[in-house]
Each structure stands twice: as C-alpha cells, then as structure tokens.
Amino acid sequence: MNTTLRRAVGAAVIAALGVPVLAACGGSDDSGSGSKTVTLVSHDSFAASEAVLKEFTQATGYKVKVLKSGDAGTAVNQAILSKSHPQGDVFFGVDNTLLSRALDNGLFTPYEAKGLDRVPKELQADAAEHRVTPIDSGDICVNYDRAYFADHKLSPPTSFDDLIKPEYKNLLVTENAATSSPGLAFQLGTIAKYGDAGWQDYWKKLKANGLEVVDGWEQAYNDRFSGSAAGKKAKGDKPLVVSYASSPPAEVLGVKPLPKEGPTGVATGTCFRQIEFAGLLKGAKNTKGGQALIDFLLGKKFQEDMPLQMFVNPANQDAALPEEFTKFGAKITDPATLAPEKIAKNRDQWVKAWSSLVLK
Amino acid sequence: MSQLRQDLLRLDDVTVRFGGRTALDAVDLEVAEHETVCVLGPSGSGKSTLLRVVAGLQPADAGRVFLSGADQGGVPVHRRGVGLMFQDHQLFPQRDVGGNVGFGLRMRKVGRAEAERRVAELLDMVGLPGAQRRSVAALSGGEQQRVALARALAPRPRLLMLDEPLGQLDRSLRERLVVELRQLFGRLGTTVLAVTHDQGEAFALADRVVVMRDGRIAQAGTPLEVWQRPASEFVARFLGFDNVVEATVSGERADTVWGSVPVPAGTRQGKCRLLVRPAGVRLLPAAEGLPCTVSGRTFRGDHVVLLLRPPNGPELEAACDLRGAPEPDARVGVGFDVNDVVVLGPAEDGTTA
C-alpha cells in the first residue's frame, strides 16, 4: 500500500514539474505554425460541422483553431480587454447590441469580404468602412404554446400591444435584461416600438398584466415555458416566452417523421432583430488567413451549415434553409431594429431604468 | 578528570532556556563507553531536556555536545547515531511490531534478510518472539515498552538513551525488567544514558547516578556513594530521607533540637544540616535517650517504618524489625547510630542556614 502511495505522490510531483514544460509546448505550437493556422475567437455558442471546417482547410490550406469563451457579451469584452495582444485572427459573434462598443474600442481592421453583395443591405451595419461583416441574423420574439391556446380557445398574441391585453394576463415569462441577451433584445424591441417616451409606460402595463421575469433563457424556456419539450417535463405553466424565431424549428428537431405543425409558434409582431458580425482583429498574426476565413464564413457552405448549428438565419441570400426552418420557422417581415450607436449610447441607462421598473 | 579514557558522551556547559525558564543550566556531564548512567530527578528538573539535547531534538542555547569526541553542533538528529526510547514509546501506529523494530535498520539501508534476522533476534531478546506481524495497538503496556526498547536497540546505537524506561509498568514487571536490562546492556556492552524519577530503578540500573535539580547537577556518583553520602538536603530528601535537622558540631557530637547526636570523626566544626538515616534511629526503652511518641506506623514488607514525635523539632522516621515494633501512641526512647549520620554540605542548598 505504501508503494502505491509513493507512486501516486511521485506521479503528482512529475505532473507539477511537467506543467511548465507542457505549457511551453502549447505556447510554441501557436506561434510557430502561425502561417498555417488561423485562429477564430468566438463565444460558447459558436458551432460548425467538422466536415465544413475541413473543407475550408482543403480549399485554403489553413487549419482553423477555435477559441471559445462565455456568452456573446463576455467574448466581446474579453476581446476588448486583450486588444493589445489579440488571442486570434478573426472574431465572430459581436451583435448589433454590442457592435458600437467593439467598434469604438478599435477592435477590427477593415476588410471587404467576398460575397458581401449577396447580403441584404439592412444587415450591413458598417457598410461604409467594412470593419465588420454580417454573418447571420436571428429574431428574438415571443413564442407561444399552440396546445395551450387551442385548449383555451384563444388566439395567440401577435404584437407587443396584444401582450398587455387582459386575456393574456399571467401568461408571459421573459428574461432579465441585465443578465440575458434575449431579455435585453426584447426590451430593445419595445424601445424601438414605443420610443424613448413610451417604453417605460409599456413595461408598467406589462408588469401589471402579470409578467414573470427569470434570470436566464434556460430557466425561461426549459423550466417555465409550457410549450417546449423540456418545459413540459418541468411542468412549465407559462404559454408565452421570450425566445428566438428559430426556436419552433428546433422543437421538431430529431422528431421522426416531422409533424405537420410544431408545438410552438412565433408572435411575429414582437420581434427584434439581432445581427451577428465577424471581423478581422487588429494585430492579427495571420491576416491573409483571417481574410480567407471571413470569406468562408460568408460562403454558401458555411451559411447552409449554420442554421442547424447555431439556430440563426444565414446572411447570404443564396444559402438554402433546411426543411425544419422553411416548414416550422416563421417569416419575420418587419422586425424592430435600433441603430447600434443608439444602443451603445443608451444601453446601460436603459437596463438600469428597466431593472428598477420591472424587478422591484 | 583525566582524558585517558575516551568519553563517549560529553556535555560541556550546556544551557537551554524556554522563555524565562532555564531547563538546563550550564550542565557538564560525561558518559564513558559501556557505562550506564542514570539521571535522577523530580519532574521538571530538566532530565528529559538533557536527553533531547543529546539527541539533537532540542538545540542548546549555549555549550556543546560531544559524541566520541566530535562536536555535534550542526549534526542533525538522524546523523547522530544515538538511540532514544521515548517515555510513552511513540510506536508508529501504522506499522506492525516488525515494522517498528526494523524501522531504524531500514533507515540505515540494512538488507531485507539481515534486517529480518535482526528483528527476530531482538524480539527474542525482549521476550516477544514471533510478534513481528502483531499490530502495535493490540499490545499491552509492557509489550509496547519491550517493542520500543527493541526498536531503539535495533540499529545498534553507540549511545542508547531511555526516558523513564519502565515508567508505566507494574512493580513486579519493573523489577524483573530492571534486572533483565542490566544483564542485557552488560552483554551487549551498550552505553546507556537513562532518565528516571524512581531512585530504586536508577540505583538498580546504573553504574553512576546523576541527581538533577532545577537544571543543574546536584550530585553525581556511584549509587552507593549517593545513597550513603547525599551531597545536600535536596538530594537527601529526594532519596526519601526526611530526618534532616539543623545542627552545631563541636568535637564528635552535634547539638540539635533532638538533643546530642554523634557525628563521624573529622566533621567540620560549626553550623550545618544533619541527616540521620531511618536505619540509624535506634529504639530504646522509654526512659532512655530522646523521649518520643509513635505517631504512625507503615508496613514495608520486610520492615516497618515508624513516625516518631519528639518533644521538639521535626518528626523522625525510624526503620525497625517487624517483630517488636511498638504500637501507635506508645512511648519510646530514641538513640542515634553514628554510622547512619550524614553531615550535609551547605552547597547547592538554599535552605541551609
């Protein structure tokens, strides 16, 4: 037994001594093969098929290394903090609610990506300088539980105005705008709709109509919402939830055969559009590779892979949507939007006002 | 003292202080090769500290320790080659008996077969043959002591130190072990420095006895010397002699509160403290000598100790035969035998007037 112990201690010592050596190896691996590797920095939700990334390597000779950390906000803030020594070549995942913070901090080098002409104008937020390239968009909308409204012989809400009507009392759960990205987007949607003067008034009514606020999307959608598969198991009792327009297609994912109609739907008049951008990081070691990667992110291959990987809509109009999206996704024609500059200027103050209004 | 014979251990002016308290105060001590020395003293007299200094477990504030003539300053504990048997054994609870006894051999990289042979031999010697695989937690106090002894002896230390070696054992076991140990050390030629508070143990075991008091050496000598001529009232009282009285010597008699007491020829004249050993207190018929009342009687197996109250001064202890011992409250006369009268030196004794 003694020898076992001795061996264990020995191994631990070796492990401790080995640490700096291994760390050094890890470090050198990065800088040494800089020209052959292109590093993508992103948030934790970034996902791509192995096969698609392989295709990029085959086409360009660059290997993609992906560094992920935290949610979108965390990732952007980390990129800003480390801008003097950027962690990689390309950053993906800054959205229109955070874009100004990134641009004001001079995070990106301008680059006009190939294929930008196939991206609708309204998605091109930095069309003049091309510091960032739109990659995808997604709408944050109220989702509803079809079964609930059928059972109660009630038509689901379709607009912000509907949500404060008495027939929808105590039905909506949303996320804390201070801690959750869809929560913030939903608030921005109301600001876009009712303006600086009216949005607080709207929220007062929403609160009076029995709004529930939870901290994160996971709790709202997986625990409180009665329409999602997870929510059903958790005996969720809120038939309305602030989520994504792409959530209904996700609900039928893996269901075979595909049903005629998904269990959830989207209140199309309650949407706020989020656009995600990618940009070439200033100080990138591999500028050429980074540019190639941005081109690739906007290319058809990646754009068609993206919807089922990240549940977003491709920015490239040529990309075909998967069946789940075309059949179960809602067509959002006129989502609310706000200029990134305006968001940047007012966001903190809006969130503070919202917190003291809604959370108290 | 001449340096012809090499001292195995020599302490030279060793002082140890714990905060304001001096545990060892400029102690000089030699232990010759093959000699067994017992340090005797009440608890708190610095005996254990002495052993710890020699072992290197306790740094000395001043002075030096020499082993085989080499200064041990800067030599760490494990390189001193001494053995120490702790008072409460300190057997390693996670090892069996064999593991404990063989520990020192393993530290000295003795081969496995050789070590096993030595362990078996030592266990035979201490009377626990075949106990190698037993758990130390399951041993009795006496057995633990034997294992501790075997463990200390196993590496054949040049100096074996024992801290209250027989402390917690019952009397008969202790008396038997003392004899066994003495024989064992004689046979092995081990040099021993032992510490005890039990005079019987010390006298039975030691070639030489060192009595300590408050960090200093009060007296050193053979057991017989110390027993017969305690150097001070402290030593006398520590040895259990309480018949001590103030005296003024003139000629071959001394004047005391107990009356006139004979003293050996050549005693220094004038004031001193006087000890009369209980054996030297003779009972006389009631009308003769110092009139006393028997105030207590203690049975001691082969003799009786009487406590006698004289008209003046402290009570006297007298040893007498079982037969004819007076009853309590009896009146007796007392005389003194010059052979058992010891004049105590005034040195090292604060109570001497």
Binding site: - | D88, F92, A137
Partner: protein
C-alpha cells in the same frame, strides 16, 4: 573536572532556526510562486485596470459604488443568505457526518460517493432538477401543496444540497478517526451522552467543523448559479453583480470595487476563522476508522440512521433521480433515444455540439491534471504550514483560501490580460483550464490536510529522526501514512471540484475541447427536446463518471485503513 573550554563563537540556536526557516521557505516556494503567478498577479491586474484611469488611481470610485443603495442590498443579502445556508447545512449534515463516521450499514460507500455527486454537477443542471423537488408539481407540491421555488428557501436548500458532502467528508473524515474511548471516558466520569459529545468530541471536531463551515460559507457567499436559477432576478449576490459588471457591462471600476469588497469580507472571515481554529486545535488521538464504526444498536441509533437516510433521499437523491429520469424520457416514451443521439454524431445533420466521449475524456484529463497540481501545491503548502510559526506563514495560510472567495469571472478576465505575452502566453494553452481549476482545489487540499497533519504527534517524527530518518524521510515515513486517508479525501475533493468546475472554465478562452459541464451548458442553451434530452443524458454521464471516480476513492480508503 576542569576542561579546556574553547570559546563558543557560533550561537547554535539562530543557525538551527534559520535552517528550519529555510526548509519551510523551500516548501512554500512552489505554492507561493503558483499563487503569485496564477492568482495574485491576474486578479490584481484586473482590479488595477478598473481602478486606474489614465494612469491615476480613482479611489473616489470606491465611495461612489459603496454608497449605492442597491449595492448595499446586494451585500446584505449575500451575507445573510450565506450565514443561513451555512447554519442549515451544518444542522442537516452533522448528523450525516456522524452516521457516516460511526455506523456501518450496507451501501455506505456508494452513498458516500452519491452525496458528493451534487458538488460536481453544474448548477444549470441541478437548478432545474431541484425545481422538481421544490417547484410547481414537485414532490413538496404534490404532497403538501407547498411551493418554494421562488422563495429564499429554495436557495438555502439548494445550498445544503450542494454542500452536504463538504460537511460529511471534512467532519466525518476526522470523526471516524477519533478514538471513541475518549467519549467513553467522559461517560464514565458522569457525563450524559450529549454532554460527553459536547465536551469531548465537539472540541476535538471543532477544527474540522470550522473548516467545513468556512468552506460552505465561502461557497454560498460566492454563490452564482443557484442564486440565479432558483432565486430569480430579485436575488443577487455579490458574485452575480461582479459577473454583470465585468462580463456584461464592462464596467471594470465598479467590478474592481466589488472585488475588493469581496476580498475584505473573505479576509475578515479567514482572520476570524484562523483565530478560533488556532485556539482550539490540539493534538488528537487518531485511530483506525474501520475500528470506530459498527452497526447501529438500539432504536435510537436506528432512528438516527433512518432520519439521516431520509434527509439524503429527499434532498439529494430525488433531484438526481429526476435528472436521470429525464434523460430517459424521450419523445417516444422512456428509452435510450437521447443517449443514442449522443452516440451518433451525424444525426440530424450535426446538431451535435460536442462529441460526448471526447468531452468525458477532456473532463477526466483536465481533472487529473488539476488534481495533480492541487495535491502538489496544496500538499507542499500544508507541509510548510504544519508547524505553526510567524505571522508570515499564517498570512500564507489565509492567502491560499482567497481563490474560493474570488469570482471566477475576475480570475478568468485576469488571466486574459496578464498571461498574454511570451513566455507566459498561456491563453490558448490547455494548461490554463487545470490551472484555474487547481486554484479552487488547493484550498480544499490545504484545509483537509492541515488539521490532520497538525494532529500528528510531533514526537513520532522525533522517534523516526532518532532512528535515522532525515526530516524529509520522517515526513514520508510517519506523516504520510498517517495522513494517507486525508490525502485521499483531499485528492477526491480536488478531483470532484475540477470535474464539475464551470465558472473559471467557461471564462477562459480555450481551444475547443469542452469539458462535460461546458458541453451540458451548451446543450441546455439550445431549444428543442433533443438538445435538452442530450443535456440530461450528458449530465447523467457526468454524474456516473463522478460517482465512479469517487467510488474508486472509497475503495482506496478502505484498502489502506487495514494498515492503520
């Protein structure tokens, strides 16, 4: 007896002392370097970045932030919920510690492993499972129509759920080794059963209880996920606030002030803790744990065992079982659909975010590396701290605990801005994750090892030294076997913590080899039954991996106990 006395010119004591000091400093070198580089430097850099504006220190900011009424509320809530959670955990878990230490019953090892499982599960997973107990349609709701999911009770009970094992393992580990005869001696002296426990056992246990309480308090004081999920937006702890200010608002000045506040609070706590422990710590008589436990006797002991098992079943097993059930509750009824989905990577055009086998491998590799680092760093630190001395050393003791009281986001962001230049550009190295995990593991190792190391009788070490063992050898021969059990417990904790660690991992930009908790969180962050089901399936796998690892550990414990 006249001897020539050469002048003694070199005083021996200072020389010896300096050697001891040198040994201690040597032992401390690695832990100190580790903490300086991977904790103190990153954290102070991010705090300094926040408080320094244009090269000038902005101390006015401190007053501004602290004057904010909302921050005051956050501070108050953080403190009282942590105190309440700690008290509740101790009340519910101390009987459990006793039962695990002193009773033998079938399935004890398995149960001890199972109660530790919650500790390593990501809060996102457990939060939703816990709702099944306290929430709408949950067990309490069905039985008594009681819902606790939006009350503070949900937070407190979830904290008990998470920290039950901390108390059972830290206190129970020592309790099992206390000599029951000490209590028997007190009984013979006329003390009642409870009085004997209070006067004899409790004082002996006090250091372990204090250590456990400190851990629980630190965990609950810095609680993040539990508060967010079960408390809702109305309840925010300091940790949540720091996260928002740093990760969302990038308001580094405010975050810096809050981090400092958290530091001060944790430092005060550690100071108080150090004082009380030092006063109470005594050399303990430790015995073989296997000899102290026996089957319960009499109705009172059986009742105690039953009530402890009931608490464990209700509070710990029910949420875990719900989790497992959900992982089987597929679209076509109960089955292995979600597990099959995990296994077939190309299903549905790659909805799959992580190869689960790979995530398990990643998790194990990271956790092993982190455990190795934590055991070496923490073991060396504990060895250096064994002999109490000097204010410096005590300060070091407290320093080691600080990471537990530091927000993961602070450490993660600190790493980002400090470890960014060669030779220390570790930002994209895999080693960063185990390093961050070890930061959390080291305090466990030190806390668990230290009381036991200090309880080892110094004279045993002396006995070994006299028999020829060098200090290092004596430590290895005497201390190590005696503290082997504690070492195993410490390693287990470090491993479990690393396995379930989420906060630091998620804030560190890392090459894409996610750990199980990260993979679970990713799946949960996506809509759809398949994703949710896969998250549950992966959580169940995480649970099993963890329980298996802990069970192995239990085996090691019993094997070794034969030697004690």
């Amino acid at each position: 007896m006249v001897l020539a006395r050469p002048e003694v010119d070199v005083p021996k004591r200072p020389k010896r002392l300096s050697r001891q000091t040198a040994v201690r400093l040597g032992l401390m070198a690695l832990p100190v370097a580790f903490f300086a580089l991977f904790f103190a430097y990153p954290v102070s850099a991010i705090v300094a970045r926040g408080l320094k504006d244009g090269g000038r220190w902005q101390f006015a900011r401190v007053g501004e932030v602290l004057g904010d009424e909302r921050i005051g509320h956050v501070l108050w809530f953080t403190t009282w919920q942590a105190l309440a959670s700690t008290a509740l955990t101790l009340v519910l878990a101390l009987p459990g510690a006793y039962v695990f230490a002193r009773f033998d019953f079938p399935g004890k090892q398995l149960l001890r492993a199972v109660v530790t499982v919650p500790f390593v599960l990501p809060t996102v997973v457990v939060g939703s499972a816990f709702l099944a107990l306290l929430g709408r349609g949950g067990l309490l709701d069905e039985l008594w129509g009681m819902r606790l999911d939006t009350t503070v009770w949900a937070i407190l009970l979830a904290h008990v759920f998470f920290n039950y094992a901390v108390v059972v393992r830290t206190v129970g580990g020592l309790w099992a080794q206390l000599d029951p005869r000490q209590e028997e001696a007190a009984r013979v002296l006329g003390a009642g059963r409870f009085a004997a426990w209070r006067r004899v056992t409790l004082p002996a246990l006090a250091p372990a209880v204090a250590a456990a309480a400190l851990m629980v308090f630190l965990f609950t004081f810095t609680s993040f996920g539990v508060v967010q999920i079960l408390g809702g937006p109305r309840y925010a702890t300091l940790e949540v606030e720091i996260y928002q200010q740093t990760a969302r608002l990038l308001d580094l000045p405010t975050a810096a002030v809050l981090t400092l506040v958290q530091f001060v609070a944790v430092a005060v706590l550690l100071g108080v803790h150090a004082r009380t422990v030092r006063r109470r710590e005594t050399a303990l008589k430790l015995v073989d744990a296997a000899q102290t436990s026996r089957r319960p006797q009499g109705p009172a002991q059986w009742a105690l065992l039953a009530s402890v098992l009931a608490v464990v079943a209700l509070l710990i097993l029910v949420p875990l079982v719900v989790l497992v059930l959900r992982s089987f509750d597929g679209p076509d009824g109960y089955g292995l659909a979600f597990y099959r989905a995990l296994a077939s990577a190309d299903d549905n055009g790659g909805t799959f975010v992580v190869a689960p086998l790979e995530a398990i491998g990643n998790s194990l590799a990271y956790a092993l590396a982190a455990t190795g680092i934590a055991i070496v760093v923490g073991g060396l630190a504990a060895a250096a701290l064994t002999r109490r001395a000097g204010r410096l050393v005590r300060g070091f003791d407290a320093l080691l605990m600080l990471p537990l009281g530091t927000s993961a986001v602070t450490v993660g962001f600190g790493f980002l801005i400090t470890l960014d230049e060669p030779p220390l550009d570790l930002r994209s190295s895999w080693i960063l994750v185990p390093l961050a995990q070890a930061l959390v593991g080291v305090p466990f190792v030190v806390r668990i090892m230290l009381p036991v190391l200090r309880a080892v009788d110094a004279r045993l070490r002396e006995a070994a030294a006299v028999l020829g063992a060098s200090p290092l050898r004596a430590w290895r021969e005497v201390d190590l076997p005696l503290v082997g059990r504690a070492l195993a417990v410490a390693a287990g904790f470090a491993f479990a913590v690393s396995l379930g660690e989420f906060g630091a991992t998620v804030f560190i930009a890392r090459p894409d080899n996610p750990t199980l908790p990260v993979a679970v969180a990713r799946l949960l962050g996506r809509p759809g039954e398949l994703n949710y089901g896969q998250a549950m399936a992966l959580s169940t796998i995480l649970m099993l991996v963890c329980a298996a690892a802990l069970l192995v550990l239990e085996r090691v414990r019993t094997d070794r106990s034969g030697e004690f």
